[in-house]
Amino acid sequence: MGKEFILSLMVIIPLGTAFVISLFGKYLRNFCDKAIMVSSFLLLALSLYCRFLLTNTAGTLVYKVGGWNPPFGICMVLDGLSCFMLVTVNIVAFLIALYSLKYMEQYTDKPKFFTLFSLMVCGMNGVILTGDIFNLFVFVEIASIASYALVAFGTEAEELEASFKYAIMGSIASIFIFIGIALLYGFTSTLNMADMAKILTVKDSFRLVPFVAVLFLMGFGIKAALVPFHAWLADAHPSAPASISAMLSGLLIKTLGVYSLVRIFFNVFNAGQVHTVYLKVFMFLGALSIIVGVILAISQWDLKRLLAYHSVSQVGYIILGIGLGTPLGILGGLYHLFNHSIFKSLLFLNSGAVDYSAGTRDLKETGGLAKVMPVTYGTSLFASMSIAGVPPFNGFFSKFLIILACAQAGHIGYGICAVIGSILTLSSFMKVQKFVFLGELKEKFKKVKEVPFSMQISMIILAVVCLLGGLMFVSPLKFFLQDAVNVVTGGMSYSNAVLGGGK
């Protein structure tokens, strides 16, 4: 048994944890806390080990589920891109699990929460690792359905409404994805993504692929909340408990939406000349998302709603960067993906901390909380400066790379969009800082206390990662991003690596 079996553990551990918690969590006190911490720590350690393994083997790791060889059975693939996503997901998921231990005590049923949380992590790890397109759909559904339930976790009327809306939109997205997969399967007679890519280069597919591409663009576009498809996000993300908002905004829209789009469009559909058309669509939707998202965000007074609209805008940056199609643009896009998962989950955790201590997240009511909640204030300042792109923080470098790549590729207009988006982001986060943390401390907030230690520590770690994330572009750490970029720009090399048995 080779070391590849670790890939299957990335799915087995969260799945097992989910059902063990749902079985024993009700009866044993604190069992769910221990189980979730052990499992998410193991996942984090294993994902870092995967990175180590990938460097050592210098290639692609392929795990054959059930011992069947790639074109026939399901395989799990670890390459630069999936490893990059895997590490991102598991870092953030671990810290959010740590934060949820105390935060979720204000809700009833913690075991149920952690069951769904684990299932969501399982779905995301599965989406990232699988090399089979139908398996990808199944994992997308696991993660989405867990998230529908989690959005409604508070069971207030508006939360149920938001969850219902999200479930409808999510199911429509899934139907588009499903039809796309069915058509591709009918055309290529295979479900393995690598094999599919190979067949699409040989078989004349100029009528089918554009149609399927549109279906996937709509399906995964809804999951990623790109602008014409973003309406559900502004309801769903604020309604969830803060730690779940952080999961949804930080990880789910990127894993289910952006990662799947990139994997399918760059590694599976890389055959014909239509390619540049997709890139143009990506760039246009990205730029549109940047502007529309930030304009919608700036006028919000609900802290979490404001953050949710910023997710739309920031996903726009990622898609714009990737859509440029140049190595520098893709590097910037993926780098921004990592950075955004870190600072956006931190911001949502901050909003949760404000809600936990002060009992409100309305910007008109809060004020002056910096004096009573120094840790929350400090970490949120870090995150706000990161998202706004202030120099030493990670957000600056990735946005700068994207803008540079726009200029380099000759798309000055899109570059200007990105700059405008960044300026408006800065102004809206100045608003957040001013109304939540600075100014006069109101009488009723005099007795507010800082959040418990475990919540503080996870926010502090995320803030440190925000600061250190700026170093990822420096050469000793750059391999992490560069490997991912090589997979995306490599196109058919993915298919060859998987079918060639992982070398």
Binding site: I12, L15, A18, V20, L23, G66
Partner: protein
Amino acid sequence: MVNNKAGMTLIVKTITRLTVGLIMLFGIYIVFHGHLSPGGGFAGGVIVALSFVHLMLVFGKDFAMAKISRNLASNLESVGALMFLFVALLGFLGGSFFHNVIAKGKPFDLFSSGTIILSNISIGLKVGVGLFAIFLALVVLEMAKKE
């Protein structure tokens, strides 16, 4: 039966008493023959769940809940999922996740497909109990609304 007032009329109750066992048996048949004929864990599980739903419709909520309580249903559902995972993990004995480690036997025999039949049984358990739990939750919700 327990409470003659609850549920539907005598005719329906008598017919149900005769058929409900057959429906459940048919569900179990579908689960066990998943590797031989159309159907399998999911379809069979749905039929098993329907036999309980049938009981509930005809004899009322309390009668069916005496057979399977909500707690038991949710526990059994987790057990079903864990069983499936366990069968998949058994594959590690043969070298990889989901590997079919048990002897395959003669084709078209009832016990012939190694771990497939075990997977089907655990899926049947999960789906059957899960679907019944969903129905139960909807019924409880509807009753809470009326009160």
